[in-house]
C-alpha cells in the first residue's frame, strides 16, 4: 500500500470525479458528502506524502511498471509533496465553502472540482514533460467549465478570452515539447537533464528555443508581465470557490518554471544553465509594478484581490529570478502563504458581496452588514497578511525574500517589493473603510452559513498559523531548496537506482 501512495493524489479525485458525474442534477447531499470526503482524504494523503518526502529521499512510481526513462513516472520529492498538501488544504476550504449553496448554481460543480484537483496534483507529481502537458490540459479543461459555472455575461466574456489564450498556449507547449524531444530524444525530465549535459554544440540553439518557448507557456499559466491580461477579469468573474481554487493555478506555472529549469537546466547543463534567469528576473519586477497599478486602480473588491494574486506572482518570480537556494526557500514559504491567503480573500469577498446585495463587491457606499464584526475582523486579518505587515505571515515571507537578495539585486528588488506592499496597503485600507464604514440603510443580506465561515477561517487561519510554525515550515522549505539545487540526486534516484544513497 505504501508504495502506491504516490499515485493516490491522482486516483482519488479521478474516481470521486467519475462518481460525481453520474447524476447531473439532484442528490445534493450525497454529492457534497463525496466531494468533501474526497478532498479530506487528499489532505490526509498529502500529510502522509509530506512526512515521507521530509526524509529527503526521492521516490518514484513507475506507472505500468515501465521503468524510467522509458515509462511515465510520478516523482515524489519535497517540493511536489509540499505542493500536493497545499492544494489539498486550499481545496478543502473552497469545497466546504461551495457546499453553502454555490455548488447548486450550475451543474456538476463537485465532479469538475475533483477533476481539476486531479489535474493539479498530476502536474505537481509527474516527472515527464509530455505528461505535464496532459495534466495541464486536464486541469485547464476542468477550469474552463468551472469558470463558467453559474453562467452570466461577465463569465462568458472572460471565459472566451481565457479559453482561446490557453488553447494557443497549449499549441506552443506542444511545439516546445516537440523541439526538446527532437533535440534530446527523451521526454523524461531527469533523463533530459543528463542528455543536455552532453549535448552536441550544434543543437544548443534548438534546445534554447524550446526552453524559452516553455517559459512563455509557463509564464502564461503563471500570469507574468506581458501575459497576465486574462487573469484579473477571469478571476474576478469566477464563482468564489472556483476563484479560490484558481489561486493555486498560477502557482502551477511557478512550480513548472521552478521544476523544469532547476532540474533540466541546472548547473550540469553547461552553457545552457539558468538560461531563464535574466528573463524571469526583469519580468518579475515589471509584473509587480504593473500589478500594483492594478491594485490601486481596482474599483471592485474581487478585482482588487485578483491583482493581489498578480502581486504575489511577481514576488514569487523574483525569488526564482534570484536563483539562489535562499531565495528558493523564501519563495516557497511565500508561496504557501500567498496561495492560502488570496484564496481566503476571494471567499471573503464573495461573503461581503452577498451581504451588500445590490452594491455587491463594488467599492461604493452600500448597505451595512448583518455580521459586520466578524467580517471586518477576517478582512483585517486577510488584508494585514496579504499586504505583508507584521505580525502575520506575509511579513515573514517578504522579509525572507528581501533578505535572500544579494548586493547587486537589492537596489532593484527592495524598492519594488516595499512600494508594492505600500500600494496594497493603501488600496486595502481604502477598500475596507468604504466597505465597512460608509454604509447607510438597513441590512438586507442573508445570514451567512457556517460552511462559508469555516471555509474563510480555514484559509485565513493560515496567516497566524504560519507565523507560529514559521520555524518548522522554513526549515522544510530550506531543505526543499537544497534538494532542488542538487538535480543530480533526482537523476540518480530515477535513472541509476543502484547508486542512490
Amino acid at each position: 500500500m505504501m508504495q502506491h501512495l504516490i499515485v493516490l493524489p491522482v486516483l482519488v479525485p479521478l474516481f470521486a470525479g467519475i462518481l460525481l458525474l453520474i447524476s447531473r442534477h439532484g442528490m445534493t447531499r450525497t454529492k457534497r458528502l463525496v466531494g468533501v470526503t474526497a478532498t479530506g482524504l487528499l489532505v490526509i494523503i498529502g500529510i502522509a506524502l509530506l512526512s515521507r518526502a521530509a526524509s529527503g529521499q526521492i521516490i518514484y512510481y513507475a506507472l505500468g511498471d515501465w521503468q524510467p526513462p522509458f515509462g511515465i513516472v510520478l516523482v515524489l520529492d519535497r517540493l511536489s509533496a509540499l505542493m500536493v498538501l497545499l492544494t489539498a488544504l486550499l481545496a478543502l476550504g473552497a469545497v466546504v465553502f461551495a457546499c453553502a449553496g454555490d455548488d447548486e448554481k450550475g451543474s456538476n460543480f463537485h465532479g469538475l472540482f475533483q477533476l481539476q484537483l486531479m489535474g493539479i496534483n498530476g502536474a505537481f507529481l509527474t516527472g515527464d514533460l509530455f505528461n505535464l502537458f496532459v495534466f495541464f490540459e486536464v486541469l485547464l479543461l476542468a477550469s474552463y467549465a468551472l469558470l463558467l459555472h453559474g453562467g452570466g455575461k461577465a463569465r462568458i466574456q472572460a471565459g472566451v478570452h481565457y479559453v482561446v489564450l490557453n488553447l494557443a498556449g497549449s499549441s506552443l507547449f506542444l511545439i516546445a515539447v516537440g523541439v526538446l524531444y527532437g533535440a534530446t530524444g527523451t521526454l523524461n525530465m531527469a533523463d533530459m537533464a543528463t542528455r543536455i549535459s552532453e549535448l552536441p554544440a550544434e543543437r544548443a540553439g534548438l534546445v534554447t528555443a524550446g526552453a524559452l518557448m516553455l517559459l512563455v507557456v509557463f509564464g502564461l499559466k503563471a500570469a507574468i508581465l506581458p501575459l497576465y491580461f486574462w487573469l484579473p477579469r477571469a478571476y474576478s468573474a469566477a464563482p468564489a470557490p472556483v476563484a479560490a481554487l484558481f489561486a493555486i493555478m498560477t502557482k502551477v506555472g511557478i512550480y513548472a518554471i521552478l521544476r523544469v529549469y532547476s532540474l533540466i537546466f541546472g548547473e550540469s547543463a553547461g552553457p545552457l544553465a539558468a538560461l531563464e534567469q535574466p528573463w524571469v528576473w526583469w519580468l518579475s519586477l515589471g509584473t509587480m509594478v504593473a500589478a500594483s497599478v492594478g491594485v490601486l486602480a481596482a474599483r471592485d473588491l474581487r478585482l482588487l484581490v485578483a491583482y493581489l494574486v498578480l502581486v504575489s506572482v511577481g514576488t514569487l518570480l523574483a525569488g526564482i529570478g534570484m536563483g539562489s537556494p535562499e531565495a528558493t526557500s523564501a519563495l516557497l514559504y511565500y508561496l504557501v502563504h500567498s496561495t492560502l491567503i488570496t484564496g481566503g480573500l476571494f471567499l471573503l469577498a464573495d461573503m461581503i458581496g452577498n451581504q451588500r446585495v445590490k452594491a455587491g463587491t463594488r467599492l461604493v457606499k452600500g448597505r451595512p452588514f448583518r455580521q459586520s464584526g466578524w467580517l471586518s475582523g477576517l478582512f483585517l486579518v486577510g488584508a494585514v497578511a496579504v499586504a505583508g505587515l507584521p505580525p502575520l505571515s506575509g511579513a515573514i515571507g517578504k522579509l525572507l525574500i528581501l533578505e535572500a537578495a544579494d548586493a547587486a539585486q537589492r537596489p532593484w528588488l527592495w524598492p519594488v517589493i516595499l512600494a508594492t506592499g505600500l500600494c496594497a496597503l493603501i488600496a486595502l485600507s481604502r477598500a475596507g473603510s468604504t466597505l465597512f464604514w460608509r454604509c447607510q440603510g438597513e441590512p438586507a443580506g442573508d445570514t451567512l452559513s457556517t460552511r462559508q465561515w469555516f471555509g474563510v477561517a480555514w484559509l485565513l487561519g493560515a496567516a497566524p498559523l504560519l507565523v507560529v510554525l514559521a520555524g518548522p515550515v522554513s526549515d522544510y522549505t530550506r531543505a526543499t531548496a537544497d534538494q532542488l539545487a542538487d538535480p543530480q540526486a533526482m537523476v540518480n534516484a530515477l535513472l541509476n537506482p543502484g547508486t542512490a544513497p
Binding site: 509530455f130 496532459v134 490540459e137 479543461l141 474552463y144 463558467l148 453562467g151 455575461k153 462568458i156 466574456q157 471565459g159 472566451v160 478570452h161 479559453v163 482561446v164 488553447l167 494557443a168 497549449s170 499549441s171 506542444l174 511545439i175 515539447v177 516537440g178 523541439v179 524531444y181 527532437g182 521526454l187
Partner: protein
C-alpha cells in the same frame, strides 16, 4: 520531402496565427484548429522523417520512431475535445452577448450599436 513538409507546416501555422488574431469567434476557432493541425504535423516530424521504415522495432535497423506517433495521437484527442468545447463556448457567447465578437462588443466590428 523535408522542405515540402516544412513549408506545409509553416503555411498552416501562419494561417492559423492570422485567423486566431481576428475579431470574430468563428475565424478564431478555425485558426486554433489550423494551429493544432500544424502542431500535430510538427510533433510528428520531431522523430525524424523516414520512408519505408518498420513500424515496430523487430531487429530491423531502419525503423520509424514510435514515440512521436503516440504523442500526436494524444495531442489529436486533446485538441479535438478542446475544439468541441470552444465551439460550444463561442455559440453560448453569441447567444448571451448578442454578437460574435471575442470581446462581446458591437462597435469594434463595424456595427452600430442599437
Amino acid at each position: 520531402m523535408e522542405s515540402l513538409y516544412a513549408i506545409t507546416t509553416g503555411i498552416l501555422s501562419a494561417c492559423g496565427l492570422y485567423l486566431t488574431l481576428r475579431g470574430r469567434t468563428f475565424p478564431v476557432v478555425v485558426g486554433l484548429t489550423l494551429l493544432s493541425y500544424a502542431v500535430n504535423l510538427f510533433l510528428f516530424s520531431m522523430g525524424g522523417l523516414t520512408t519505408d521504415g518498420a513500424a515496430i522495432i523487430n531487429g530491423a535497423a531502419d525503423y520509424a520512431d514510435p514515440l512521436p506517433q503516440a504523442l500526436v495521437l494524444t495531442a489529436i484527442v486533446i485538441g479535438f475535445a478542446m475544439t468541441a468545447f470552444v465551439v460550444i463556448l463561442a455559440m453560448r457567447a453569441r447567444a448571451d452577448m448578442g454578437n460574435d465578437h471575442v470581446d462581446g462588443r458591437k462597435q469594434d466590428i463595424g456595427e452600430t450599436p442599437r
